[in-house]
């Protein structure tokens, strides 16, 4: 029997409310919300059972070229004969289909899943860009007031459905292109059976280094393996050694230094290193 604040009410009103805990009540809870959540997780795990490794491409900083690096890596994996998929988890600024040169077309429904779009290289892809009207922001139905309360939950559910409801099939690597920041990474950790491996992208500057450091720390604290650091835009106006500094600090390799106009060898080298990492 649970007592406490209610006990004082009991005394005041002269009644004895027999209040018990949730788990004291043993009749079936028909809603079964914990069971529904568990079923959602099982659906994600089942869909990804054929994926060799999920790799989150992340950075604490915007504008460093995460999507560019993700697309370059995905295409290089395909050129190397590997099966690769890219889940574009930047729902508000999706760019992956354009970077993979995938035209927007109708998504096909097969059995219990949506078929991913496929680039001419063979990279499978799913992105909010395939669903949204041209030029329109991602809009959700719901009360406009205080929408921040539920919008992030909806975006997390969107990530869950992109993982669970797209027919990813058998893949050597599923790359998840994350938006700037750490929130989407946390959602990914919550949804997957195990934390994803992480490839971080930075530009050379000290400002980028400091922002990316926070993201790497966050990923490490959540049990993610750090696969390495990609330093992007290395031959441009950005001075610094963020790539080397972060690699040294986190004891992870600097896996690629990418100039503004990289040739295929840069991506092919990165793909080889990503496939060697277990």
């Amino acid at each position: 029997m649970q007592r406490g604040v209610l006990a004082s009410y009991d005394a005041f009103f002269g009644v004895a409310l027999n209040i018990r805990t949730y788990h004291d009540l043993t009749e079936p809870d028909r809603s079964g919300l914990p069971g529904q959540i568990a079923a959602q997780r099982r659906r994600v795990a089942a869909r990804l059972a054929g994926v060799g490794r999920v790799v989150a491409v992340m950075s604490g900083k915007g504008g460093v070229g995460k999507s560019f690096a993700t697309a370059g890596l995905g295409r290089a994996l395909a050129r190397a004969g590997r099966t690769a998929g890219v889940l574009d988890a930047d729902f508000n600024g999706p760019t992956i289909p354009a970077l993979l040169h995938i035209p927007v077309a109708r998504c096909a429904l097969r059995n219990d899943a949506i078929e991913p779009a496929v680039s001419s290289d063979g990279v499978r892809c799913f992105s909010m860009a395939l669903l949204l009207q041209d030029g329109r922001p991602l809009g959700f139905r719901g009360p406009e007031a205080e929408s921040h309360v539920w919008r992030e939950t909806l975006e997390a559910a969107t990530l869950r459905e992109f993982l669970a409801d797209v027919a990813w099939g058998t893949l050597d690597r599923l790359l998840v292109d994350l938006p700037p920041g750490i929130q989407r990474f946390q959602e990914l950790v919550d949804l997957l059976p195990a934390p994803p491996a992480v490839l971080t992208v930075t530009i050379p500057t000290a400002e980028s280094r400091d922002a990316v450091r926070r993201a790497m720390q966050f990923a490490q604290e959540r049990g993610a393996q750090l696969l390495g650091v990609v330093e992007n835009m290395v031959d441009g106006p950005f001075a610094g050694d963020a790539g080397e500094a972060l690699a040294r600090e986190f004891a992870t390799p600097l896996v690629a230094r990418v100039p503004f106009n990289p040739d295929l060898r840069v991506w092919d080298g990165l793909a080889q290193r990503m496939m060697r990492s277990s």
Partner: protein, 149 residues
């Protein structure tokens, strides 16, 4: 969530859910001993949170549709985003649609119409319903938790 009839000291049992309007989600529970019923009424914000989690108060009896939440909640989707948007009627293909039901279905945005049509058709098929009418659609919405569809 569970409800306790404190007078009988019995757990109240879920009875039904409804969407009475204005974004309210209503769930009724009844005491199996004294028959007293209570209604849980969520405000639109709470209803939205439940929908955002992709769970159904009262449980669900049909398998989730691919991208069900995405298709049901996005307001800026392309009309032609899904190839099945104009055709597939699901397992319930062959179930008749009354003129009124077809008219109502036509008002559903193309982005989600194919999925909605399949859900209603499967609902009818599972219950041996030969014709889908607006009344059947209302029942399906309440029973299956199709907020806004």
């Amino acid at each position: 969530m569970k409800f306790l009839c404190v007078e009988c000291d019995r757990q109240m049992l879920f009875e039904e859910r409804r969407l009475p309007g204005d974004g309210t989600l209503a769930a009724a529970f009844r005491c199996p001993q004294c028959g007293r019923a209570v209604g849980l009424l969520t405000n639109p914000m709470e209803t939205q949170l439940v929908a955002s989690l992709g769970v159904k108060i009262g449980g669900t009896t049909i398998e989730p549709q691919p991208l069900e939440m995405v298709r049901g909640m996005i307001t800026t989707g392309r009309d032609d985003a899904f190839a099945e948007g104009t055709g597939d009627g699901g397992r319930g293909t062959g179930v008749a649609w009354s003129a009124e039901a077809q008219e109502r279905l036509a008002r559903v945005p193309n982005f989600v119409r194919g999925m909605v049509k399949k859900i209603y058709a499967d609902y009818a098929k599972d219950r041996g319903i030969v014709e889908i009418t607006p009344t059947v659609m209302d029942s399906a919405r309440s029973e299956l938790g199709l907020e806004g569809m």
